[in-house]
Symmetry: C2
Subunit: 454 residues, 2 copies
């Protein structure tokens, strides 16, 4: 064991020079997003009021690789490349012949993978002469990442934070403010969208999105930034998988299965897409496993069709697995996984059978997280706890089959801001909600009329 390497580190000069645009590799033709009013394919111009053209061009790009601007790579150096770990201690704990590796994104200042795209978005907006960005945040990971990124590029940052989170997670709010951001409790009285929702004081992600988009639309010098789902967001995250691929080469192994948790899909895409490209191009064979909460089982129980990205129906209609755009998931602690749909690119891969999905209950994910923390040390965020739960299942299967299996998973954030949830779990007081048949009926009834997908 003393010869065995625990951690594979890269020098900052090995930060990828390009992002991987998987769009060109996807099987079949991708259904276009539709304008919410006309239901006709939405073009770049429909996005220009709230996004800079450089990001819109990335959103619709058909280039297989897109160069990472040098100032973005410079900012990445503040924490990238991130380490890849061999989970020797977890393997012993699980008594498995599987080799388990994890890519750790919690080393970033905000503590997750989110700044990979926040940095890229802040840079392009600053370069376009934009003065400030607005966004929404639920649990606070995305808002923190954007506040951090804006502080590096001299942009103002205005975050609409879901009311219940604003009250319950004051430390995430303080973190954003420390980086200089302004944080509004949503629904606020600053926007029409907020004023119309004063009867729902706890707020929702949908309301917060509406407020942020409304402010960005109304001000010429202000844009909006989204932390997942869109093509350019997934694109920016592919630095994760490219680094992981180089580090797996250092370890002298290739993954048999790549595992990640899925909310909107940016973490999963970031780790897996560089490997998916190899598979789609016939250069490698491996499985891809998406782990989601049973309380919000979009990929395992959702319907594949056009739906809105937000609750209010202001965004383009996107082709995706959805539980209905006005479905409000139960308040599981994996706040980053509480989204009614998923990134269209990822949904296409699930539909094509390239990516498989499994759903897990909240308590079993926390049990997996505690097992991980007591063997590997790092306390995971509740979101990647879903990936760990899936990894344990894979490791157990390897032992039962008596076969070696190389598992790579994404540990996309630490749980330093989620310890109240661990507290509840350890006290046996954590709820264990599941998506019900009644939820499904209500979801289906609420789906908007939209063209069918071929």
């Amino acid at each position: 064991m003393s010869e065995a390497r625990v951690k594979f580190v890269l020098d900052e000069r090995e930060i990828p020079t390009h992002w991987v645009n998987l769009m060109t590799d996807l099987p079949g033709e991708a259904p276009p997003p539709l304008h919410p009013g006309t239901k006709q394919p939405a073009g770049p111009d429909d996005l220009s009021p709230i996004f800079p053209m450089a990001l819109i061009l990335q959103e619709v790009s058909s280039e297989p690789e897109i160069e990472i601007p040098e100032p973005v790579r410079e900012a990445y150096k503040l924490w990238r490349p991130t380490p890849l770990y061999r989970a020797w201690r977890l393997e012993r704990e699980l008594d498995t012949p599987a080799h388990i590796y994890y890519k750790y994104e919690g080393a970033s200042p905000p503590g997750s993978h989110k700044p990979n795209t926040a940095i890229a978005q802040a840079y392009e907006n600053a370069r376009a002469g934009i003065r400030g960005l607005t966004t929404e945040t639920g649990a606070g990971q995305w808002g923190s990442a954007l506040a951090f990124a804006c502080s590096l590029f001299g942009l103002e940052c205005e975050v609409f934070m879901v009311g219940s989170s604003y009250d319950q997670k004051p430390y995430r709010r303080s973190m954003m403010q420390t980086w200089g951001a302004t944080v509004h409790r949503s629904p606020s009285t600053l926007t029409d969208s907020g004023r119309a929702q004063q009867a729902h004081p706890t707020g929702s992600l949908g309301i917060a999105i509406s407020e942020a988009v409304e402010v960005a639309s109304a001000r010429a010098d202000t844009n909006y930034a989204l932390g997942s789902v869109l093509n350019h967001v997934l694109l920016h995250q592919t630095v994760i998988g490219q680094e992981a691929a180089a580090q797996m080469d250092m370890a002298g192994e290739q993954p048999d299965v790549v595992v990640g948790c899925v909310g909107g899909g940016s973490n999963f895409a970031g780790l897996s897409f560089p490997f998916v490209r190899r598979v789609l191009r016939g250069e490698a064979k491996m499985r891809f496993l998406a782990a989601e909460p049973s309380a919000c089982p979009t990929l395992t129980r959702g319907t594949y069709r056009y739906d809105f990205g937000d609750t209010a129906g202001l965004t383009p209609l996107m082709p995706m697995y959805t539980l209905g755009h006005d479905f409000v998931p139960p308040p599981v602690h994996a706040g980053g996984l509480r989204y009614h749909g998923d990134a269209p690119m990822l949904c296409g891969l699930v539909r094509a059978g390239v990516v498989e999905a499994r759903a897990y209950r909240q308590n079993e994910t926390f049990a997996a997280a505690v097992r991980f923390a007591r063997s590997e040390g790092i306390i995971p965020a509740p979101e990647p706890a879903h990936a760990i739960r899936a990894v344990i299942e894979e490791a157990d299967a390897a032992r039962e089959a008596g076969e070696p299996r190389v598992i790579l998973f994404g540990l996309c954030g630490h749980g330093n801001f989620d310890l109240a949830a661990y507290d509840a779990y350890l006290a046996g007081e954590l709820e264990d909600p599941e998506f019900s048949e009644q939820d499904m009926d209500e979801a289906l009834a609420a789906l908007p009329p939209a063209p069918a997908i071929a």
Copy 2:
């Protein structure tokens, strides 16, 4: 700038193989600790009821280097080597010709430098057949580190947490519990020391130490672990400075001044001692600057003499700068710096003029920390914010003198668990206590009778 390196990383095979024992390099003869009862020099046997012999031998060792056991190096690999950063963005923000480097210890799972010694102590206790460790914790950094270390070596861990912190910082408690530790609110009813203090329900570090020592003394299979002050604790931390020295070589520069915050002294010693050795041996010239809080200014205003390490007077008398063993510092947020004395080895260096000390007010340290967070990204813990304040002073002096100056400082932990303090600072509601003349008079009156130091 695109060619310039931001981060200097080492491979895990470059984790130091030995700790640096500065004891043999110190100028003059070190005054021995004294038995609290007899006031005669305390020997190894006086410590054996609560420490394993391997650590006691390290405590009194006259070997210049002590080999790091392989299982300790293996555990270090979970986060070591830690990165050294060139603070380009802070330099620009300060408009200084100085080159600023920082060694970041917040990458460890508990978020500070503390596990460097927690791992070493847990290992030696496990090897000696001990079943569990007790300790005290104030703000929770040390308790978290020991809980983490015990989880890796299969030891039980029992932490007496100062009552007021237990109530105000539930997340640090949850963190310890997630790693499997048992956390008691101190004063508890489990010990004589605790039962005698039920009239002081908010507790104190002194009471918590007494409880932890009492439990360890009473059980044959249980030992006690201390997170700072003692020689062997400082010894274990010297991995920091050895790595930093190798990384400064990579950067092609040598520090003109090494800066760190001081509570008990283990962080400062860990970074500086490998450099201090070079200076004491005439191999290099540089300054060493210890930053402490004005609210607890041990090195700048304390008296150098024998005093107890704890409030109750149960520990050996140690030669140190002290504000009096029953001085209770005001509740500044840098909980790790609220100690009435300092490590004897460090005090000897201050007395010899090798290390200089400066004290800073709470608000100016938070101002420095926010400036750092908005340029470098990482939000510092309140303790290293004192070092950052001193660094800004050095950087300003370099600009005024129009001279280059290479500054190396220790960023010994992140501030993820201290955001309530940032909140108070940003709201202008942070108190700014200072040690008063009356405090000094009371401190001097409370000093115990003890032999003079030559």
